[in-house]
């Protein structure tokens, strides 16, 4: 488990991260969500040791991170780039060797990833000759080529076509399934919602919410209820302490406290068949909007 503990980082007068703590569980895909300038990239750079924090620490399995631990991290920075004139395979081997992989292993591993990410025909072309999408694939390969123990990816899906997104999702899932903590940031909230086990929401340099997707949704489930009944549900509007938000034939979405909701349910059951009655779980987009307010 990767744990970020009370990390603070200032740039001059600006506080980029203010006492930030969260964790990335082993084998959990953790989505890191926040607006532009919220502190995602700074946090990721501190995790990777590219930036030093002013205070706080980062631990892996309870121990403070060492340089050797960080070599076993896979990192994809927000601002992409590889050596333009180096060939794809050669470049992957170089980056793997910088992280301590033996030359022969690095060559084999680079070829595996090149095939996996469908770059086989571009293997010996310089990066600058590749299309942007293929450069992005090469960038992902660069983050994975040393078979990392922990993955930290800043916006891994931006610039990818839908096919490539699926390929990358598959690869990330594999890493998590092996027990690696995986942290990635994304602006594509629907993707994060579909994919992630855990979520960390950051805004203005502070963590606003963190936890498993279901916990977060439960915690943010307010006083909204959905009722689907066989009869026309127009009568709900006349119930005391109830505010109807949406209404369509037998469907009604309303706001009420738990007691008032129970009264509505009993009334509906008395009037006819009740197909479903649930507290409404908010979508990630709604949670996000709510917590960063």
């Amino acid at each position: 488990m990767l744990q970020i503990e009370n990390v603070t980082k200032r740039f001059g007068d600006r506080v980029a991260l203010d006492d930030v703590s969260f964790r990335v569980g082993a084998g959990r895909l953790t989505g890191f969500v926040g607006g532009n300038g919220a502190g995602k990239t700074t946090a990721m750079r501190i995790i990777l040791g590219v930036l030093a924090s002013d205070s706080g620490r980062v631990t892996l399995h309870g121990e403070p991170l060492t340089t050797d631990d960080r070599r076993r991290f896979g990192y994809m920075p927000e601002e992409r780039g590889l050596y333009p004139k180096m060939r794809v395979h050669e470049q992957l081997v170089y980056l793997a060797r910088l992280r301590g992989v033996r030359a022969r292993d690095a060559a084999v591993r680079a070829d595996e990833l090149i095939d996996r990410l469908e770059l086989t025909e571009r293997r010996d072309e310089p990066i600058e000759k590749l299309s942007l999408g293929n450069q992005q694939r090469a960038q992902i390969a660069a983050a994975l080529v040393h078979d990392p123990d922990v993955l930290v990816l800043d916006e891994p899906f931006s610039g990818l076509d839908p096919m490539a997104v699926e390929t990358v999702l598959g690869v990330l899932g594999e890493f998590a399934a092996r027990g690696a903590p995986v942290l990635f940031s994304s602006h594509q909230l629907d993707l994060v919602e579909r994919l992630c086990d855990d979520l960390v929401i950051i805004a203005g340099g502070g963590i606003r919410a963190a936890g498993s997707r279901e916990e977060l949704r439960a915690a943010n489930t307010g006083s909204q209820w959905e009722l689907l009944s066989g009869e026309d549900a127009g009568w709900v509007r006349d119930m005391p302490d109830v505010a109807v938000l949406e209404f369509d034939g037998g469907y009604v979405l309303f706001e009420a406290d738990a007691d008032a909701a129970q009264v509505v349910l009993q009334r509906a059951a008395a009037l006819g068949a009740v197909h479903s009655f649930t507290p409404r779980r908010p979508t990630l987009t709604e949670i996000f909007r709510e917590v960063v307010k």
Partner: protein, 370 residues
């Protein structure tokens, strides 16, 4: 769960440096521009030595035509190659045709006690022939002959140009390599793998190997060229100063490389490299011009041989002129080493603090403070 087959003995500092240096060397050797310009440089060095040798060989024996008894008199004179012809007319023909530089014939009616031969030239008197026939007075030298000023100038020029070209070429390469990594952002991946010190050291080592290799190649080529044209004497004269030059260069280049790398790390775009490198380029150029223009001024040469930036050219020059005491190069080298250590430490600090700051140029003061 797939097993991890990839072995990861974390590379230590030295291995990281080796990897980075290896990449720098490979990339440079793969550059056609670099290979071609190196070949041209080598050819120019070889050509200038061979042509110089051929020109000086032409000043060998002067062909001269001579008639009858005069031919016997001329035989054995230094620097003269005699062609014996039967008549004065034939001797004149050879002079006109340019076969010989001059001719000597017996005077038909020599005056008593006067010269007994006549020298024939085409447009001017054949100087070497006349010199050979003249009686030279006895000469005594009170001092050992000093190195001829012209030769000193060329040796200064040689050291100066080699140092200057290598410093600018490979310093520029380091600067470009630093900015390329910043501009393409690959530096962030690199810094998550190895320390900025290892990265900087690798660049400096890689380019120093290239620069040093090129200089040794030039020195060897020049040595072979001099031997082929039979100027072995010059080699033994130059030998010690060339060896010192190599020693000074090896350290002096590290000093410059650190300055080039640190300066380049302040900017984020290739377009800005030129401006930020100007101060360093001046530092390389000024001592180079001083040494070339003041190679016969002992005071200036004395000072330049101790200033770290010019010592790699100034001190070997003084060793060649034999004006340096045995301990002087050692002191100068010590000063150079200390300066290099200090500058490399400062350079590494600037480099480390500037690498992730993209956008506008980082101010030197900020880079030093961090």
């Amino acid at each position: 769960m797939s097993t991890t087959t990839t072995s990861t003995a974390a590379p230590r500092f030295r291995e990281s440096i080796t990897l980075v240096a290896g990449r720098e060397v490979m990339q440079k050797l793969r550059s056609k521009a670099f290979v071609i310009s190196t070949i041209i440089l080598m050819l120019v060095v070889l050509a200038s030595i061979v042509i110089g040798g051929l020109v000086s060989r032409n000043q060998g024996d002067t062909p001269v035509a001579a008639v009858g008894v005069v031919a016997e008199q001329l035989e054995g004179l230094p620097g003269i190659e005699v062609t014996e012809v039967p008549t004065r007319a034939e001797a004149e023909d050879l002079v006109r045709e340019g076969e010989v530089d001059g001719a000597a014939v017996p005077l038909e009616n020599p005056a008593d006690g006067g010269p007994a031969m006549e020298v024939i030239g085409l447009e001017e008197a054949p100087g070497i022939l006349i010199q050979a026939l003249s009686i030279a007075p006895e000469v005594t030298l009170l001092d050992e002959p000093s190195v001829d000023g012209f030769l000193a100038y060329f040796v200064a020029l040689g050291f100066g140009i080699v140092f200057f070209i290598s410093a600018v070429t490979f310093g520029g390469t380091i600067a470009q390599s630093v900015v390329e990594e910043k501009q393409t952002r690959v530096v962030e991946i690199l810094l998550s793998s190895i320390s900025s010190r290892a990265l900087l050291a690798g660049k400096v080592v890689g380019n120093s190997i290239l620069a040093f290799g090129q200089i040794i190649a030039i020195a060897v080529l020049a040595g072979i060229g001099l031997m082929v044209i039979g100027q072995d004497i010059l080699i033994s004269d130059l030998g010690p100063s060339v060896v010192w030059f190599l020693g000074f260069f090896a350290i002096g280049f590290v000093l410059l490389a650190a300055m080039y790398a640190a300066s380049a790390s302040l900017v984020s775009r290739m377009e800005d490299v030129g401006a930020v490198l100007t101060p360093v380029t001046y530092l390389v150029m000024i001592p180079y011009f001083l040494v070339i223009f003041f190679n016969n001024n002992e005071l200036v040469l004395g000072i330049t041989s101790y200033v770290p930036f010019s010592a790699p050219v100034g001190m070997p020059m003084r060793i060649f002129l034999e004006t340096a005491q045995w301990w002087e190069p050692l002191v100068s080298l010590a000063i150079l080493v200390v300066t290099t250590v200090v500058v490399v430490a400062l350079g590494a600090r600037i480099y480390q603090n500037s690498l992730l700051r993209t956008g506008s140029r980082v101010k030197l003061g900020e880079a030093l403070r961090g």
